[in-house]
């Protein structure tokens, strides 16, 4: 039996693709959100922050249930899907991307928000006295200073999407090459007593998780040294 079969290769590639695309979208959405959360002083800042953080606490089955309904033909997802002639966003790669973005959002927003908050007002004030435009200040002062936060957010967002299971199981439909990601493939192999394949994938995941955690620690250490 070939261990590195097409089936396994397909699910590994699909997982990486899903995590990469989700991470890019997450960074694009999380950056302005984190900036606002770190700066705004309005009373509902923390309400929005709590809403973004909900997936940390909610079981994936809750999100899976809502998404199954929202992505379906009677929900907004069905309306979007109808734009290109589909009925539902469930069972599609796009549906998984939407699910992953919602599910991993807190893991990306939080570190970036912390990084923005930690730099304080001072660098921005200095930039303002030099008559730098706010947008330029953001790109040339705030973003470079918050770099460790962005790195942490990107790594966590990517890793969390790779590790996603319950949500994908509920809205994915287990389609090879489109929605059958690593975690679901492992579940499938275990369910059908194909333990050799399961152990290959599970082993890969352990190595991956280890690398992620090690990377995070190193980023933290470097950031601490840079500020010290």
């Amino acid at each position: 039996m070939e261990i590195w079969s097409t089936e396994i290769r397909q699910s590994v590639l699909l997982t990486i693709e899903l995590a990469a695309i989700s991470t890019v979208i997450l960074l694009v959405l999380a950056t302005p959100l984190a900036w606002w959360l770190a700066r705004a002083k309005s009373w509902w800042t923390e309400i929005v922050a709590s809403m973004v953080a909900l997936p940390l606490v909610l079981p994936p089955t809750v999100l899976g249930f809502y998404l199954l309904v929202l992505l379906g033909p009677d929900g907004p997802g069905g309306w979007i899907a109808s734009l290109w002639g589909d009925r539902t966003l469930a069972f599609s790669f796009e549906g998984l991307v939407i699910g992953s973005v919602v599910y991993s959002m807190p893991f990306v927003v939080q570190p970036i928000r912390n990084a923005f908050a930690a730099m304080g007002e001072r660098p921005l004030e200095v930039a303002a006295t030099l008559r730098t435009s706010p947008l330029r200040t953001f790109w040339t002062v705030a973003v470079p200073l918050a770099r460790p936060g962005f790195l942490t957010g990107a790594v966590l967002g990517f890793a969390h999407t790779v590790g996603e299971f319950g949500l994908v199981l509920m809205i994915g439909g287990n389609i090879p090459g489109r929605t059958k990601v690593l975690s679901v493939a492992i579940f499938d192999y275990v369910e059908t007593s194909r333990w050799r394949e399961a152990s290959v994938l599970a082993g890969l995941m352990v190595i991956f998780a280890f690398v992620v955690i090690l990377t995070m620690t190193l980023i933290d250490k470097r950031a601490a040294r840079a500020t010290a």
């Binding site: 379906g72 539902t88 199981l169 439909g173 287990n174």
Partner: protein, 249 residues
């Protein structure tokens, strides 16, 4: 003295707990049999015992049982997995019997969509939901049906898989898939939508076997549940849910 009393109370509680346990049995139930099993378990209570039910895909339970899952009775959706458990020494030889023969249905929530095998031939739907054929017998029967009709390759790109038959049903119920292969038992008591009961000639009979697991060999409640399942009351419920009983056809 106080400590002694505490210990005595704790021991008493433990004993009471153990007693309650003795009248209880944990039953792993194939997902298609969910509603029927609930009804049977409710009636079973009058024997003084209690059956605690868990629902899932047969393949999933098989794997869990080989790993020492705390079930005493297994109601599979096929005969091969209970047979294998007997061969592997994990189930009591001679306890295996067919409690129901399942019927496969092609189902849609909307009226007029499913009319017969021509629905599959025309394939004017985007998604057809089935359950995982490797882990769930109804999924296998669905694949066999499509193969018998020589439509499997054509329909394959439209298939979405649920982990259990319950999920395959739910994909259709939420409208995410227009049609799906489900168990006739799941449609009991509802006439909405449209359906086609797949002719038996198109797939191998879904002989659903029950087996007493080795872990339940000394468990009174487990034995009682198996006998109850063979009895007239349980058989009436099983028939009501659209199953065929062994020995009739």
């Amino acid at each position: 003295m106080k400590l002694f009393r505490t210990i005595a109370v704790a021991a008493g509680l433990l004993l009471a707990f153990a007693e309650a346990q003795a009248a209880q049995t944990n039953v792993a139930v194939a997902a298609n049999f969910t509603d029927a099993a609930r009804e049977i378990a409710a009636l079973f209570k009058k024997t003084g015992h209690e059956a605690v039910l868990s629902f899932g895909a047969s393949g999933q339970f098989y794997t869990q049982i080989t790993q020492g899952a705390p079930f005493q009775v297994f109601l599979s959706a096929d005969e091969s997995r209970p047979k294998k458990l007997v061969e592997e020494g994990l189930a009591v030889a001679g306890s295996r019997f067919t409690y129901a023969i399942g019927k496969l249905v092609l189902w849609s929530q909307s009226p007029g969509i499913v009319t017969g095998e021509e629905t599959l031939k025309a394939a004017s739907f985007a998604k057809l939901s089935i359950c995982n054929p490797a882990a769930a017998p109804y999924g296998l029967a669905a694949v066999e049906t499509m193969k018998s009709l020589k439509l499997y390759d054509a329909l394959k790109p439209k298939l979405v898989e649920g982990a259990t038959i319950t999920q395959a049903y739910q994909f259709v119920e939420t409208g995410n898939a227009e049609v799906g292969f489900v168990a006739l038992s799941q449609l009991t008591g509802q006439d909405a939508g449209s359906r086609w009961v797949v002719p038996q000639a198109l797939y191998n009979p879904i002989r659903q076997d029950a087996v007493l697991l080795k872990t339940g060999a000394g468990n009174e409640a487990a034995g009682a549940f198996i006998s109850f399942l063979r009895g007239p009351e349980a058989r009436a419920i099983i028939e009501k849910y659209g199953y065929v009983l062994d020995g009739q056809s």
